[in-house]
Symmetry: C2
Subunit: 467 residues, 2 copies
């Protein structure tokens, strides 16, 4: 067996090594726990590390695999869960003082499904307090830092989930995404992050931020890995009133079909406005890679996107206040000051504007649906900038002054309102080594096409680099 430090990059390859018995789950978990011990002091990606439990689970997995009882591609794979996903018997804090000592008595459906697929929980990952912030630097447990530059943010709110995967501390993690909270840290940390279609993945046992905007999705280093994790998560859950009655499916089924003859829609207005120069350059390269892979490009129009974004933001602010109303009244001082201030902004909003926002949602569904007629996916930047500094709150984007919070959520928020599936994949780095992400948006319940396009890009880009 190989020495530690030489673990395969993808969970797909790790699973192969398990089956070929060149690596064992116990050995892998030990290696990763050592890495976490050393590396997470700086990153602060974990709130809780479940080392002892992980080693037990690794032993079980090892026994099962050796006995030929192979559960599937996640068997023996070390994973992390954003610390607002309930885990029975394991502390779940929401990154907050309120739940600092909270130990749930049941597990979220997604946690149970991952476990049943054979994965091994290495720990609970850091989150912006109550997931209410896209920077990942306001948590009771301190900021999560970017593996590519520790002075910078991981992005958030699923910052720990992204940083831990990007830093090779785990193979996959789950995050939640209400305005971009999976896709933003995936982009800023240089990994793959999926916000599936609304209703595709159960939210039972996932602490809410906004009932109608929250989505749970996987973060991984490769596209195939991401599809395999989503395979284990998807499917109807009667315990979640928002869960869609859709059968399970294999999201990796089309990965190798390629994109020749496919068409990518490029919505220039809104999505390519106020985008940093280096981000725009990477996007241009992505488009070229897709072209040389045989995909066509078409400019598409999606009207009213600013209004759609505003409706998403209003819904979020009102829902978040509703979720935290009692805590804000009884113990406001226990919130992080910045998070509290933002939550309080939701108090004064008017109900009729919320009603209008729900109408905008219907309009936006229609508009995204039309934009996707005749194209396979839409391509946009995930985030208009690269990772900013920890605690930085304003940013200048080629002369456009904007709050960091607004900048990083601006291009992800619209599909939280519509529920359309949206996938962020890494597309290289800037000169200073900071990752850039590209977002693919697909038709409702058509995650498989997103993965197909993403995989084709990933393969072609890798060939470019090695060729």
């Amino acid at each position: 067996m190989r020495a530690s430090g030489e673990l395969p990059r993808s969970l797909t390859d790790l699973g192969r090594a398990y089956r070929e018995r060149t690596l064992s789950p116990v050995e892998v978990v030990e290696t990763l726990l050592t890495r976490i011990e050393a590396g997470d002091k700086v990153l602060n990606a974990f709130i809780v590390v479940t080392g002892e439990r992980a080693l037990e689970e690794a032993e079980n997995a090892e026994r099962e695999i050796l006995a030929g009882r192979y559960r599937g591609p996640l068997h023996g794979i070390p994973v992390g869960l954003k610390d607002l996903i309930y885990t029975e018997g394991v502390r779940t804090t929401m990154g907050s003082a309120f739940f600092e000592d909270f130990v749930p008595d049941y597990s979220a459906t997604v946690a149970t499904r991952l476990l049943e697929a054979g994965s091994i929980l290495l720990g609970k990952t850091n989150t912006h307090e109550f997931a209410y912030g896209p920077t990942g630097d306001r948590s009771r447990f301190g900021p999560t830092r970017n593996p590519h530059d520790a002075a910078r943010i991981s992005g958030g709110s699923s910052g720990g989930s992204a940083a831990a995967v990007a830093a090779d501390l785990i193979y996959a993690s789950l995050g939640s995404d209400t305005g971009g909270s999976v896709r933003i840290p995936a982009a800023l940390c240089g990994i793959v992050g999926m916000k599936p279609t609304f209703g595709r993945v159960s939210k039972k046992g996932v602490f809410p931020l906004s009932w109608t905007l929250d989505h749970v999705g996987p973060l991984t280093r490769t596209v195939e890995d991401n599809a395999l994790v989503l395979n284990s998560l998807a499917g109807h859950d009667p315990g979640d009133p928002y869960s869609a009655k859709r059968p399970a499916e294999d999201f990796a089924r089309d990965l190798r079909r390629g994109v020749r003859g496919g068409v990518i829609g490029v919505p220039r207005d809104f999505y390519f406005e106020h985008v940093g120069r280096e981000v725009a350059e990477r996007l241009g390269e992505v488009i070229e890679v897709f072209r040389s892979s045989g995909a066509g490009m078409r400019e598409v129009e999606i009207p009213h996107l600013w209004e759609t974004l505003k409706a998403q933001r209003l819904t979020l602010a009102a829902d978040a206040y509703a979720v935290h109303e009692e805590r804000l009244r009884s113990e406001p001082e226990r919130f992080d000051a910045e998070v509290r201030e933002r939550l309080m902004d939701g108090e004064r909003l008017k109900a009729y504007r919320y009603a209008n926002a729900q109408q905008r949602k219907l309009g936006a569904n229609d508009e995204f649906g039309r934009a996707l007629e005749g194209v396979d996916v839409l391509l946009t930047p995930t985030v208009p900038i690269t990772a900013t500094l920890v605690d930085q709150r304003e940013v200048d984007i080629e002369g456009y002054e904007e709050s960091v919070r607004s900048a990083v959520t601006r291009l992800t928020g619209p599909t939280n309102l519509t529920g359309f599936p949206s996938l962020s994949i890494p597309c290289g780095s800037t000169a200073s080594g900071l990752p850039v992400g590209v977002q693919l948006i697909g038709r409702t319940f058509d995650e498989a096409t997103l993965y197909r396009f993403a995989h084709a890009y990933e393969m072609a880009a890798a060939a470019d680099l090695t060729g």
Copy 2:
């Protein structure tokens, strides 16, 4: 052919008379136009009477039927449409000064479907201004009066639709129901009124009051008639984002199956609280009639109904303000003063309470679903009182003081939030001759069972009277 004044009571019988050629559509329309001319001066059920057009349509229907091109049970049947249902080329006022001279350039899907089924439009029926009131006595065109006592309200907001059917001026009408606006006037006027499952009937071209609470449904004199009209209305409409993707079905299919062995759930708490003595007595008789028809009775619990009602009322107030915001800002004086005041009450409501109301909706769906487990339908009063006087605003219900508006919508509102189908059928009158209604609530998309129970009651009650 028969002399005018001797028309059959039900559209089913009228259709039979057409096929047997003992009556002709032209003759029937002429008779009804004469009745309207005479009787509607007092009732004020119509805003627009489309006499000329109706006679033309009647001639067409007569020709088609004589030629053997029989379209079905609605062919040649005179109907009315609440005057917020768009009719191409026919004035549609919403009972308001704003739309006094408005002539739509397209017809609502329901209007088109009724027309295609062969029905004849006799006119547009009076509505509480913008459908925002359950009394039917605030309309630009004056109050609609109750056919059983002209000093009293028809109920609303579909007051004209109910009064015209109850007074034998038309055979069927359509109303809209956001908090009870079909069922309340049906109950107070002594006819059958259906609020179908949310999404069952298209709302395209129906002026909104609340996007998420509005339902369109038929008012008729008999249960079978009601099912036949719903047959013509139901079915998916891509033009309405709330329209459910459900196939057409025959709602009259089970009418004669009876209720022997069936079970009726009786939710005593909330639904039987603060109900007038004579209404309660009629309800007791209904229960006896069902028992002797072979149905079992079971007490059921539906928790949180007051909270569910409050959530429905908050959603309604916020949505209604959103719909009318521009008009309230620019020309407030054109509203009826009472309607304006009520609309303005929606302005101050908070968005987070709207968000909470949407959560209550999910809870209520669950609670109604559980209450219906093991029973076929729920039975409640439709309205706790009989028709109050025109302009009366407070009522004393056995010592319980309540606004008329709250009293009459209290028992119908909850299923506007949940979207469960709810049918009001007449169940006799008080000593002073005022009608009482009973409400049957069914499972989502199970209107057929409601009609089956209602028809069994109707038959048994008629047999009691004649036996």
